[in-house]
Amino acid sequence: MSVFEGFRFRHVSSPIHRRDPRVKFLYVLVSFIAAIMFNELPLLLVLFFLPTPFVLLAGVQRQWLRSLRGAMFLASFLFVFNLIFGFLSPENIPKTMSPPEYAFAMSLRFLDLVESFSIFFLTTSPDHLSLALEQSRVPYEFTFAFTTAVRFVPVLAEEAQTIMDAQKARGLELEKGNFMKRVRNYIPILIPLIVSSIRRSLELAEAMESRGWGASKKRTNLYALKMRRGDWVLAIVSLLFLVTVIYVRLYVPVPTFTMLLPK
């Protein structure tokens, strides 16, 4: 699924990659709020192109475009849905825009949201992320669960492949048959995978206990995230961004394309 492509981390470094994940998350949150606050197409378009310098600076253009491409399916669905909705009950959509513009705006808002999260995950490595989680007030159990899950994703993927091979070698044909048969054909794959995951969890628990899990209420850390100058800059930018967004929403009349068109 190419929409997930946009969320996978690659081992690269850039000024954006090196930013403290907590600050990046703040920025994402502000973008999120901004996208939700506005339904006017011109502003949503601005929001859409705003992260472009970040994307280019981080060198993640290709993956970012791929994630957008993946989100296109849902975005088009939203467009059609809102278009129909706008025509059928025009009293429920803002008077300042035509149904097509409304539909456009709604699907663009969705893309804005996908975009901001995509950039976050593209430029933040899982261990950087888990470090940020550890240092925030998130209880360690959750951070540990997250990190372990990420760590074992490739292992599970390989195991699923091995199980499929093992069952294919016993005559299981996954592509044949009607829908019901095909679903049932996945049982010989799922059960070994689940059983193996349960066994693995037991072994992990044994290893965790054997290395002092729960020994101290105050867990320390090998690394500490320190806010550097670039992080403070981004933090201030995000806050200014937020303030601007609120100001515009409250005091600035935002035009829509419908309004700008000659009558």
Partner: protein, 281 residues
């Protein structure tokens, strides 16, 4: 000086019909290199888990008898306390590594103990050096080979600087060369750092040359307990079905044919040395 002492240790897993270990009484001296072996299901894995407290604290069930490890009564101390004195390295390297980089994994135990950061850093670097894997510091566990992963697992446990390290069939998934490397690392820990080693193994041909104490179990009981050379020569060992090293078997057959070697070899190097003496005359 005794570092492990058990008296009539008996344990049944919850829901188990019969005890997995029964009446196990043994003593282990500080600094020994012990090999624990026996057919599948003999109770060696169960016994290992008693040493660091997984039994009875993690696995419920009834543990009878006495068990003192590194001066502590295991039944009365939680696992995280035992973990600072006894480390346990498991069979499957993949399922012992949970962090996204090797150094974070090695630091895991120390972070749990709430150690200050500088101390953790020092210990992590030291453990990586002792196991010969400094260059793997920032790698992700999934990218490593089985042998490398197992060395990381050893470093993870070593970082906590336990007095005793227990290894439960650590080379099961490795090829013979990989297995040899692991045994060499374990031997270093024993000879250079004085760590008491308990190694559960089937591959006696590769491992027995390092041991000064061998314990053989069968059906939950200890059947043989003593120095490697005496044990491997015993008829009981052969009957139980333990994999006696070929060098020892050769010695036995030569003896039956009237050729006596000066002592009992368990490794090929020893056999070569002893045979030379006989053949040169």
């Amino acid at each position: 000086m005794l570092i492990i002492e058990t008296k009539n240790l008996t344990y049944t897993y919850p829901g188990g019909i019969k005890p997995s270990i029964r009446d196990v009484s043994l003593t282990i001296e500080k600094g020994e290199f012990v090999i624990l072996t026996g057919p599948s299901g003999c109770g060696k894995t169960t016994l290992c888990r008693c040493f660091n407290g997984l039994i009875p604290h993690f696995y419920a069930g009834q543990l009878e008898g006495e068990l003192t490890v590194a001066g502590l009564q295991v039944k009365e101390h939680p696992i995280y306390e035992m973990a600072q004195r006894v480390g346990l390295v498991f069979q499957n390297p993949e399922n012992q590594l949970f962090a996204l980089s090797v150094e974070k994994d090695v630091a895991f135990g120390l972070e749990n103990l709430g150690m200050p950061r500088e101390e953790i850093r020092k210990r992590v670097d030291w453990a990586l050096q002792m196991t010969g894997i400094e260059e793997l510091e920032e790698r992700a566990p999934h990218e490593l080979s089985g042998g490398q992963q197992q060395r990381v697992a050893i470093a993870c446990v070593l970082a906590m600087q336990p007095d005793i390290m227990v290894f439960d069939e650590p080379t099961s998934f490795l090829d013979p060369l990989g297995a040899q490397k692991i045994f060499e690392v374990i031997n270093e820990l024993n000879k250079k750092l004085g760590v008491t080693v308990i190694l559960v193994e089937h591959r006696l041909d590769l491992a027995s040359k390092y041991a000064d104490h061998v314990i053989i179990m069968d059906e939950g009981r200890i059947v043989l307990n003593g120095r490697p050379k005496e044990i491997f020569d015993s008829e009981t060992a052969r009957l139980i079905g333990v994999g006696i090293p070929k060098a020892t078997q050769l010695w036995q057959i030569l003896r039956e044919n009237g050729i006596k070697l000066e002592s009992i070899p368990t490794s090929s190097e020893e056999a070569v040395r002893l045979l030379r003496e006989v053949l040169k005359t």
